[in-house]
């Protein structure tokens, strides 16, 4: 039965619409996986000699033990962000004569094969072997330690699912937990109560008495059983399988009314952003990336290379433009036929999108004004970049949108989510960022800093003046490609 479930999973992966389509993406993911594997493995092998070299008086494994708690906390937090319980579509299996427990066990044990569980092994095993080789402790002790460590990471694996299930719907409930962790972290930092040291001491105990490795094993089993119970109790259509229906948020965005003709579209887009997980995150990202400038402005090496300021300026004022704009019109994929059949002239549709992004650039530009602290030049650069973004980059992005054929499901999280990403998204990044930097660099090199800025400014203003014409032209392209878009947006695979 397990085998059959496995083969179902296999088919669902290889028969999903995306397979074979985005080779480039796969290569990138493969490359990343390879990179992390190599990095962890090297760290695992090098850990023992490194500690010996820098802390000759310490017993490496005991030093490591002291940091295990910190590591586990970190691991829990990145798993929380990135890892999901691999609920295979159990709905169709509910009616079939398969024991409930079997399906649940399958889902849970499938999660053990996650890449997240594989990475810590790359450190634990080489480090353990190194210790055995150096005879720091008896082989049995080290093996006991390795077993304990492996079960600790696996415990995190299942603890994460429990936490996730409790908090995905209500992130605010997480605050007390984060608070407690922060308190312990601070106490630890100021050496008032060093929980990480106590945890390390407990692990040292495993080295003395290897049979104690059974404790993490028991904890692991406890969490596994907990998950099992939880999933089994939710094995009903109306429990976890059906999404919870929350009261609708009926915020009206009445201020958009002053945009006249465009008002309904703007309102629509704001609701799109506000009420769906993925577009909503673009807002948070925009705010976070506002701080991106600090990397450049605080570093003196860039003072000699103002072209990097242009890069930062385009990025800071245009982060929403890039994150949101690159998926126009795929955001509307779920109801694209409506957009096409309703009384919505394409040109006005595009003008509204351009309007929304323009507003975002203006807001980000205003928010970036405190950077004046690093000098007037920075402020000037950012303002010019904002104008350039509005004038040139918006039409470029809208144009590239006409190549967009990939659907986006609005309520999936954007982390590690490449749905809707195709070659077009990668290629369009280049002219957006590289072109202004290049133009500026040429004028800066051969004439002056000010001339570079002036050229960018003039380009932006020209683009703004010609926007109406450009959008008219882009609308024609959308019209020509619309049948392929409608077809593409219908494909629901990843």
């Amino acid at each position: 039965m397990f085998k059959r479930l496995f083969s179902l999973e296999w088919k669902s992966f290889f028969r999903s619409a995306s397979v074979g389509k985005s080779i480039g993406l796969k290569i990138l993911m493969g490359f990343l996986a390879l990179y992390f594997t190599a990095a962890f493995l090297l760290f695992g092998i090098g850990l023992y000699p490194l500690i010996k070299k820098y802390f000759p008086n310490e017993e490496p494994i005991m030093l490591v033990n002291r940091f295990v708690l910190v590591w586990l906390t970190l691991e829990l937090s990145y798993r929380f962000l990135l890892q999901n319980l691999p609920i295979l579509d159990i709905k169709p299996l509910m009616l079939l004569p398969i024991k409930r427990r079997k399906v649940v066990n399958f889902v849970l044990s499938k999660s053990l094969y996650s890449f997240f569980n594989f990475l810590p092994l790359l450190i634990i095993i080489p480090f353990g072997i190194y210790n055995i080789y150096k005879h720091t402790f008896s082989t049995l002790s080290i093996v006991g330690w390795m077993v304990a460590m492996i079960f600790l990471t696996l415990t995190i694996n299942f603890a994460n699912f429990i936490i996730k299930k409790k908090f995905t719907d209500n992130v605010k409930a997480l605050i007390p937990i984060v608070g407690i962790i922060a308190v312990f972290g601070t106490l630890d930092y100021f050496k008032i109560f060093e929980s990480s040291v106590w945890f390390g001491k407990a692990l040292n105990e495993v080295l003395q008495q290897p049979w104690l490795a059974i404790v993490p094993m028991l904890v692991f089993i406890f969490f596994y059983k907990w998950n099992q119970k939880d999933l089994e109790s939710k094995f009903y259509l109306d429990a976890s399988l059906k999404e919870e229906v929350k009261d609708a948020n009926t915020k009206e965005f009445l201020w958009t009314k002053r945009f006249g003709d465009l008002a309904p579209y703007l309102q629509q887009d704001l609701k799109l952003i506000w009420r769906n997980k993925r577009p909503k995150t673009t807002i948070y990202l925009s705010v976070i990336f506002l701080a991106y400038g600090l990397i450049f402005y605080t570093n003196d090496t860039y003072a000699e290379m103002p072209a990097f300021y242009i890069f930062a300026g385009i990025f800071i004022t245009g982060i929403f433009l890039i994150n949101f704009g690159q998926f126009i019109p795929a955001w509307d994929a779920g109801y694209f036929p409506l957009i096409m059949a309703q009384n919505i002239p394409l040109k006005r549709y595009l003008t509204a999108k351009a309007g929304l992004i323009t507003v975002s650039v203006v807001i980000l530009a205003i928010l970036s004004t405190p950077y004046v602290y690093f000098g007037w030049r920075i402020l000037m650069v950012n303002m010019v970049c904002a104008v350039y973004n509005i004038g040139i980059n918006i039409p470029i992005l809208l144009y590239s949108g006409s190549f967009n054929r990939k659907r986006i499901d609005l309520d999936k999280s954007p982390f590690m989510n490449y749905q809707g990403t195709g070659a077009a998204q990668w290629i369009v990044g280049l002219p957006l960022m590289v072109l202004p930097v290049l133009v500026f660099w040429i004028f800066y090199k051969f004439i002056s800093f000010e001339s570079g800025l002036t050229v960018l400014l003039v380009m932006g203003i020209l683009g703004l003046l010609l926007r109406n014409k450009a959008i008219g032209y882009i609308a024609l392209r959308y019209k020509r490609n619309k049948y392929a878009m409608i077809e593409g947006f219908k494909q629901s695979g990843q």
Partner: protein
Amino acid sequence: MITATNLSKVYNGVTVLNMEHLDIPNGQSMGLVGNNGAGKTTFFSMLLDLIQPTTGNIFNNEITVSQSEEWKGFTSSFIDESFLIGYLTPEEYFYFIGDLRKQNKADVDALLATFEDFFHGEILGRKKYLRDLSKGNQKKVGIVAALIGNPKVIILDEPFANLDPTTQIRLKKIIKDLTAQKETTILISSHDLIHITEVCERIVVLDKGELVKDIMTSTATLAELETYFSRDLATEQ
């Protein structure tokens, strides 16, 4: 009002629709009937310029639908749930469609008031997003939204499917009231022969993309259609 000439659609060498000529005069209510794969939805999609015909053209009020967007102003439609915006509440959706069709909030409210019966208290003021409504309720929203703004042409793909019996009867009345005024051209497809013969003045039967019957509805029509669709059974016996 609507004319299709020499219309055909071919997918990978398979002809899914082949319609030499079809003319639907202004104010007529036409029912499109046919088994799965007959080309009903294909025809509607071409009429809305959602797919491109392989040959031929469709004219909506003398506008070639694939050339100009002018027809969108007086044509409204509900084909499937891709015509709904999942993250809006029904009210917001109606107002949005109203905005697009130059109807202010009061106009839309006035129209919605006449559909109170039809909604049966399950649509308005429930604080639910469209994506959280049941299939039948979603359909109600889509159908009513297609009636906003006095469109001259209304296209509904299988409006009776998924609706409960009471709502089906109410919908029939709504359609009959609309057709009685002879101002709106209505195109409906359905698998329910009884409903469609009841509400449409004209029935067009498609079979594997070919137009095989074109009848003005009379008391004999239902029997004729039933005989036609059971012909395979008859030959087997």
